[in-house]
Subunit: 266 residues, 2 copies
């Protein structure tokens, strides 16, 4: 049995994406790697899971012939489900011990600010964190399939080195976004409070019926200099401590003054 | 132009679910209603959005012939997308003013505790909140299609009455879960820190290949008496103030001590 750290890897761009290839290459420097990734692109799937249809899970041996690929150092599976499904089935069917860390990505495109909530890449990391693993989602702010992931690898090395030697309490994971090109350094940030302004493109099909493509504009009116958007705009990688407890604890006091006790025995 | 409140309604069980029928009936007591709901069940879709295929949006006139159904009091649309898509396309293509409140549900089954993160019903409400609307997700702890929604209606009336007269700051919405049967009252709660333990059911198809059904057991080791799970177990409806800022602000200080400034100019 190997004594090297065990690293679980997934993403949302699918098993064929160059981004996950780059992440696995760095992960192998730290330990043995189990990849369970979607068999097709699953971007923007959020925290979706597959409950109404069966899921396929297939071991593949052609992930990358140039990487060490034996049953100890690197095992790779493709799954027909969502990114969250990939993590769940890895936990139940493939892992015989808890991974030392789970890494998700490298996403082709930003998952900063409100994008974290739509991202399958981040949701895979969140699911690992729910299970109690250390977990990090990595995203490069470049949507191109041919993006240059080399500068991102240094950021990944730094984050994994530090996180493997430290603990965060249950319920916290990391969302790391990396600017395109040269990286000036790493900044601890909060998620910018920005949003997408919807703009559906209406078209007509050959049969005369309307259909729509979702497009949108990213609108950031949060001008704080402690946000991920600000750090990225300055050339820094952003590290946001991220949680999955959605309770707004600060609002519990004011809600208690709404007088809901008047509705007892309704 | 009507001066009644305008209420946007969606869900994740789809436009044909009895739960959304019950919610619309209550909503019509408060104002004019626009329904935009999935044209098929979309449970457990989380915050997924549809970016790789086009979306259909069709007005329907047979939602319920017993309800008032003219262009002012009730308009109903089915959408081929996810619950979040429904809210986004309503904002861009159907609404000519901001709704006074957005209501999602009534979900067939619980969205308490960690279920909030998987729920399409809650994600629709979260999306409305991101856009700046007052928003509430309602769920009945009964998965049956034939569930009795009558006791839930009193809870909805109470929550909508109070919320229409008050404000919550941007970034906060409400997650309301309602126990099956008689409701003792309403409690402000935090989300219980519980999780699902995965248990994939492996089967073999007629061609000799494995496939899996996702199943699981809900495990709650959070025994606090201020949680939604506790309130529901005692016969109370739970109201959790819910946020979509996933930043774990309490961890930013400790992360700043990890020494990432050592990696400047990496």
């Amino acid at each position: 049995m190997s004594l090297r750290p065990l690293i679980l890897v997934s993403n949302d761009d699918g098993i064929t994406a160059p981004g996950i290839r780059a992440l696995v290459e760095v992960a192998l420097e730290f330990g043995d790697v189990l990849v369970v990734a979607p068999d097709k692109p699953q971007s923007a799937m959020g925290h979706a899971i597959t409950i109404n249809q069966p899921i396929r899970l297939v071991e593949i041996h052609n992930f990358d012939y140039s990487l060490p690929h034996d049953k100890h150092s690197l095992r790779t599976y493709q799954c027909s489900g969502t990114p969250v499904d990939c993590v769940k089935i890895a936990i139940d069917k493939l892992l015989d011990r808890r991974p030392d860390i789970m890494l998700s990505g490298i996403n082709h495109g930003s998952n900063s600010s409100i994008n974290v909530i739509y991202s399958g890449t981040m949701s895979a990391a969140v699911e690992a964190s729910i299970d109690g693993m250390k977990a990090v989602g990595f995203s490069l702010c470049d949507y191109a399939w041919t993006a240059d992931f080399e500068p991102a690898k240094s950021v990944i090395r730094a984050v994994v080195t530090e996180y493997l030697n430290r603990e965060l309490p249950y319920g916290t994971l990391l969302n790391v976004n990396i600017p395109k090109g040269e990286v000036k350094g790493l900044k601890i940030c909060r998620q910018a409070m920005a949003k997408w302004k919807e703009d559906f493109d209406r078209r007509t099909d050959p049969f005369g019926r309307d259909y729509f493509w979702m497009t949108g504009q990213f609108v950031n009116e949060d001008h704080g200099q402690d946000t991920d958007e600000w750090a990225l705009s300055q050339g820094y990688a952003s590290i946001v401590p991220t949680q999955f407890d959605l309770t707004d604890h600060n609002r519990m006091g004011s809600l208690n003054q709404w007088g809901f006790e008047r509705y007892d025995k309704i």
